[in-house]
């Protein structure tokens, strides 16, 4: 019963996710390898994984936002949110469009071709020779499974001792959820100015989903925020792995999972029940959808999906506004990059904008109608009190402080023997970069998005009021989660796959096999003679 809200959220998000993403993967065969999925127009297991991974974030956002909307309209019933969820699924079904061409939706003329046909030039690997999956994928799958299970078990161990999470959980996110889940007029406490010791102006989506979950299972249950954290983490791993498997190889996807989960913050932040994990999920979702959109011929649906996820960023945390702005810039960059196709490509920009607009406008309404003015991000306390933005921008000592905090945070992400950056560096050193992938639009979009995000975060750190070192030491480890998954995704997107290193070897066949082959040739020759 306590897991019912999570299950409902997954079911809610499945139809929209399927409607937006089905058939978009690289399909090298006309039928799916997974029985029954062909009837759903899902072209590959990786695509199914991606759809399922996006389902919970989408569903949680639909349920959370619709529940808050119903409360604001004076209707206190969690069933209404479920009705809205069913309605949104119906709308997504109606607008699903045609999934794919009859040959399966290969990612179009401008797409990154899968390196199922590997293109590394070597004397041993003729161009165009199809390479089967890496035979030790089962080992990589085991490693991915071990890393996932270890992280989940570690989180569970922390949650068992601190079932209510850490400070920001019971002071902000889960606490507001408790208010919203109280029924009646209690929900107003989440945005009440008298709640000024906390942050009533913060985005409400996560808290609203938790409140909706508590309305279903009862306020005494500690499970809603815990289960929500697990669901978001699993979604994140599925997103990154599924998209890498779609765009590149399953081997790269499986290698990426341990790298993704290796930082200590992938345990501590989910266990803290903070909003930074959902923020990372929606940010990563936006990134991978834009990368897919840059790769795919059927781009419109993907731009719509990216716009939806970008708008959900701003409903999750304050930093979401930066993510949305960066996504919009990347969409414009994709459009501008195709100067000879401006007229044809403007629809993609429009699709992104129209998909992002409702969420963005609704958030503006929330801020104006309910929340206090934006927090004191640029107000000063301590040493920087009263200094202007321009003086902070040119104060070089601030950059030094930021660098020192970044170094300290990076150093504590993991032990040297298993540091997250060591995972990436070893993969780069051994597999090498794929020149073809580096030249592809998908990789360039990922790099551009990541670079703009980092620049935005750096700018926000420089503009911080108060002592930078104190603020960053308390928050930087959480902010890592906002972009680390995107970094892992982009790095592995640009690598050569293990299959690229495959060397064909002629295998001596047995006498029996040669005899059978010879018999076959004789049969074919006799038929040819008769024909």
């Amino acid at each position: 019963m306590d897991l019912l809200p999570i299950i409902l959220a997954i079911l809610t998000g499945l139809v929209p996710a399927w409607s937006l993403l089905r058939g978009v993967s690289l399909a090298t065969q006309q039928k799916s390898s997974v029985h029954g999925l062909a009837s759903l127009e899902i072209a590959s297991t990786a695509e199914a994984l991606l759809i399922c991974s996006l389902a919970f974030p989408l569903g949680a956002s639909i349920l959370g936002l619709s529940y808050f909307g119903s409360l604001a309209a004076g209707l206190d019933t969690p069933i209404l949110a479920i009705a809205v969820a069913v309605l949104s699924g119906g709308i997504a079904w109606l607008f699903r469009g045609r999934a794919s061409a009859s040959t399966g939706d290969v990612l179009g003329q401008n797409a990154e071709p899968a390196d199922r046909v590997d293109h590394r030039q070597s004397a041993e690997t003729p161009v165009g020779r199809a390479v089967p999956p890496f035979p030790s994928n089962w080992i990589l799958g085991t490693l991915a499974g071990v890393s996932i299970l270890a992280v989940l078990a570690a989180i569970w161990g922390l949650i068992a001792k601190s079932p209510y999470g850490a400070w920001d959980s019971w002071a902000i996110w889960s606490l507001r959820g408790k208010f919203i889940g109280g029924g009646g007029e209690y929900w107003r406490n989440a945005i009440d100015p008298d709640f000024r010791l906390s942050h009533p102006e913060y985005p409400i989506m996560l808290s609203s989903f938790l409140g909706w979950a508590w309305r279903i299972v009862g306020l005494d249950s500690a499970l809603p925020p815990q289960a929500t954290a697990f669901a978001y983490l699993i979604s994140l791993a599925g997103m990154v792995g599924g998209t890498l498997a779609m765009l590149r190889r399953a081997s790269l996807a499986l290698l990426a999972i341990p790298a993704l989960l290796s930082p200590v913050v992938m345990v501590t932040v989910p266990a803290s029940l903070y909003a930074d994990l959902p923020m990372g999920v929606y940010a990563t979702g936006t990134a991978i959808l834009l990368v897919l959109a840059a790769s795919a011929n059927r781009k419109l649906r993907l731009f719509v999906a990216a716009g939806i996820f970008a708008s959900l960023c701003i409903w999750t945390k304050e930093e979401g506004l930066l993510h949305m702005l960066v996504a919009a810039l990347v969409v414009l960059a994709i459009w501008l990059a195709k100067r000879n196709e401006w007229n044809a490509q403007w629809r993609n920009v429009l699709a992104f904008a129209m998909a992002a607009a409702p969420g963005a406008l609704a958030f503006w309404w929330f801020r104006v109608a309910f929340a206090l003015p934006a927090g004191t991000r640029f107000a000063g306390r301590g040493g920087s009190a009263g200094t202007s933005i321009f003086s902070r921008a040119f104060d070089l000592s601030r950059y030094g402080e930021i660098g020192a905090q970044l170094w300290e945070t990076t150093a504590t992400l993991g032990p040297l023997l298993a540091h997250p950056l060591v995972f990436l560096l070893i993969a780069i050193a051994v597999l090498g970069v794929s020149r073809r992938a580096l030249r592809g639009q998908a990789f360039l979009v990922g790099v551009l998005l990541l670079g703009l995000l980092w620049a935005g975060y750096l700018g926000s750190f420089v503009m911080l009021g108060g002592r930078i070192s104190a603020v960053l030491s308390a928050s930087l480890h959480r902010l890592v989660l906002h972009t680390w998954p995107i970094l892992v995704f982009v790095v592995f997107l640009g690598l050569e796959s293990p299959e690229s290193w495959a060397v064909p070897v002629q295998v001596r066949t047995s006498r029996k096999e040669r005899k059978m082959a010879g018999d076959d040739r004789g049969v074919r020759a006799s038929r040819k003679g008769k024909g």
Partner: protein, 152 residues
């Protein structure tokens, strides 16, 4: 017929990832096992269960403590208390504080009645471990929900 073979470097990569995965998985599980909760909420739930039952129908009540806003330890006491008392909002006592009821949340034994008088409050009931339920002196004495006993 041809198969494909892979260079040693690929298998070294697999081995390296395997080693590092085992290392970080072991460390994470060890850290999780060694973790000690710095915020023992269970104490707060037990401490506040009595007063919560009396004010659970109040959307917001006042909040009074020997620790003042801005003092060290104020928020460390306030937020766990607020979480336990949710969905009822605790509003630090001041002009315009809603509700007739005020939760007293003290970290040391004091004369709670005198503190109430200073703040225009009357004690409704005292609970163990520094928890007191007050009401405003200028409002008629009315039993809080679930309180069948007569108020002082």
């Amino acid at each position: 017929m041809s198969e494909f073979k892979y260079p040693v470097r690929v298998y070294l990569l697999v081995a390296a990832f395997g080693f590092m995965t085992v290392v970080f998985a072991t460390i994470r599980l060890g850290e999780s096992n060694a973790y000690v909760d710095p915020y023992p909420f269970r104490t707060q739930f037990a401490r506040l269960s009595g007063v919560k039952a009396l004010v659970r129908d109040e959307r917001a009540i006042g909040y009074l403590s020997n620790l003042k806003p801005g003092e060290r330890g104020f928020t460390q006491l306030y937020f766990p208390t607020q979480y336990v008392m949710a969905p009822t909002l605790l509003v630090p006592l001041g002009p315009g504080t809603p509700s007739n009821y005020v939760l007293g949340n003290f970290t040391r034994q004091q004369d709670y009645t005198a503190i109430g008088v200073e703040n225009g409050l009357a004690v409704v009931r005292e609970f163990p471990m520094g928890v007191v339920l007050y009401r405003r002196r200028d409002t008629p004495a009315a039993p809080a929900r679930g309180d069948e006993s007569k108020t002082p």
